[in-house]
Subunit: 318 residues, 2 copies
């Protein structure tokens, strides 16, 4: 079975670990979000790609969900001693090495997709991880500061401001001109099923879908497309998805998230059992829907979620 | 008193510490060798400038003579886990931060001299440290490997090969087209005395003198120029200066090192007491010479050496 998964950071990475446990024989291609990539200290940092790579490769800081286990922060402390920031972004020494390798390869002319493959040669994530695009796409968030509207990098909004001010718009800058990375459209065309993990529908999966050609390829693939709600009981399970959903005019409910993707894209949608009342509405909108436990409390629980998604895919594909 | 010092790495840095102790009120300008600069992992590394900065700023690894005290090597180990080398160059985590700041500033358009000033704002070395040039000069060493002649970067010759094969030539690539960094010629013109520490006459001070304009400015400054021999009893005190002296056809003796600079440049020369027999020959060549203890065993011993150099400068200047 060939499975394509669109993935953001923590949610996508944890779902993928469950999916691998559920379907160890499947050939999984992950199309990773690069809209939250950022240049820090002159280095190219790809938080979502690295979270997937570290999580599936056994290097992740488990409790935190991002960054490396057993991390130290000597380089960052030294940079601060030079008065060089930002200090709000947590780059550890082990993590720095990844960004140094990546930046060096990019400077040498390698596209991000080739760099990602090279990094994965070490981590052996057990999936094929491809960035959504080799072109630079940068998610910016429009906010109002002292009555003035300004755009900040997604990481600044998310990590520094902790989404504490309302997002007025979310713009994947550069997306219109970006091309899917080599292998992305091919993987979609050859997929048996396409999954949207319980990731942020706007800044994670939404950014991937904003790369011209990817949404169309998924819609035209002719295979089941099944998503899992990142919203449980009216609130995001993790993170601050509600803040950016509001910015695009979407209510923070499991049903609204499904409607945001639309029946032209989604064939099936899983909501949590606490949102069972939403099932009928989602189905009325033309999307097959089931209510199952959606908390990724363990690899086993996540594997059950992945199995439910694949079962629903078989149903809608029948 | 305004003192200009041409400095390589360890020898120059230790001498400067003694000079500062001997003349705490002097205004010292250090013209630093950048011929051994190297790009590693996409970062610009300036070993000699950093050795001076760390030594005078209190951050040096004392026993080693280079690199930071209390250093860790997490980044380097992680790079090696990615299969990315070279492993023969010892870059620690603290040190990495310096190179990250430098590389980021250079990418932003700052010349190396401005970057060095910015880094020194943290270290407060108590001297004005200026790279010899903002232009790239790279010392290459010609060697023979399996009957074939090839040129390697100085660091590869020195650190990886540990000067274990004969150097056939030492070439400061790019020197002819390099310009002295802003402030270099001005400092020389305004100096009351110019000192050559017991640094390598070929790959440290020789490289600085290879930048067009610097040798001429020193010769024309009309102030005493005094050097200290890095060769004691026919062998370098530290390092492998004899290997590169041979490459330029110079014997490894205190007298030959003085002759290498020449009486057109040097007014005075200090040799160690064990080389007292060389004094007459050096003087016959037109360079005032004294034999004094030249082992930099402590800051105090080095301060005495600096005082001897300044005394000799007063003598030749009288």
């Amino acid at each position: 079975m060939r499975i394509v998964v669109l993935a953001g950071g923590i949610g996508g990475a944890r779902f993928l670990r469950g999916l691998k446990a559920a379907e160890p024989e499947a050939e999984i291609t992950v199309i990773g979000n690069t809209g939250d990539d950022i240049h820090l200290f002159g280095l190219k940092v790809c938080p979502d790609l690295d979270t997937v790579m570290y999580t599936l490769g056994g290097g992740i800081h488990e409790e935190q969900g991002w960054g490396r286990a057993g991390e130290s922060f000597t380089v960052k402390e030294e940079l601060a001693a030079y008065g060089v920031g930002p200090e709000w972004f947590g780059l550890g020494d082990r993590d720095f090495a990844t960004h140094i390798v990546r930046t060096q390869m990019i400077a040498a002319g390698y596209p991000l997709s080739a760099v990602t493959e090279a990094l994965c040669a070490r981590w052996k994530p057990g999936v094929r991880l491809i960035p959504m695009s080799d072109d630079r796409v940068e998610t910016h968030v429009a906010i109002e500061v002292d009555g003035e509207r300004k755009a900040v990098h997604f990481q600044e909004y998310w990590v520094r401001l902790r989404a504490s001010v309302p997002a007025q718009a979310v713009v994947p800058v550069g997306a219109e001109g970006a091309k899917p990375a080599p292998g992305v459209l091919e993987a979609i065309a050859e997929a048996d099923v396409i999954l949207f993990p319980p990731s942020n529908p706007v800044v994670s999966i939404g950014t991937i879908l904003a790369v011209p050609g990817i949404r169309e390829a998924i819609a035209e693939a002719g295979v089941p497309v099944v998503g899992l709600s990142p919203i449980i009981g009216g609130a995001p399970v993790r993170g601050m998805a509600d803040k950016v959903l509001a910015a695009v005019g979407v209510e923070s409910t499991a049903a609204a998230a499904a409607a945001h993707y639309g029946s032209g894209l989604l064939d099936g949608w899983l909501v949590d059992t606490v949102d069972a009342a939403a099932v009928a509405g989602v189905e009325a909108a033309g999307i097959r829907c089931r209510a199952v436990p959606l908390l990724m409390e363990s690899v086993e629980a996540t594997a059950r979620m992945a199995r439910e998604a694949l079962t629903l895919a078989r149903e809608v594909g029948a």
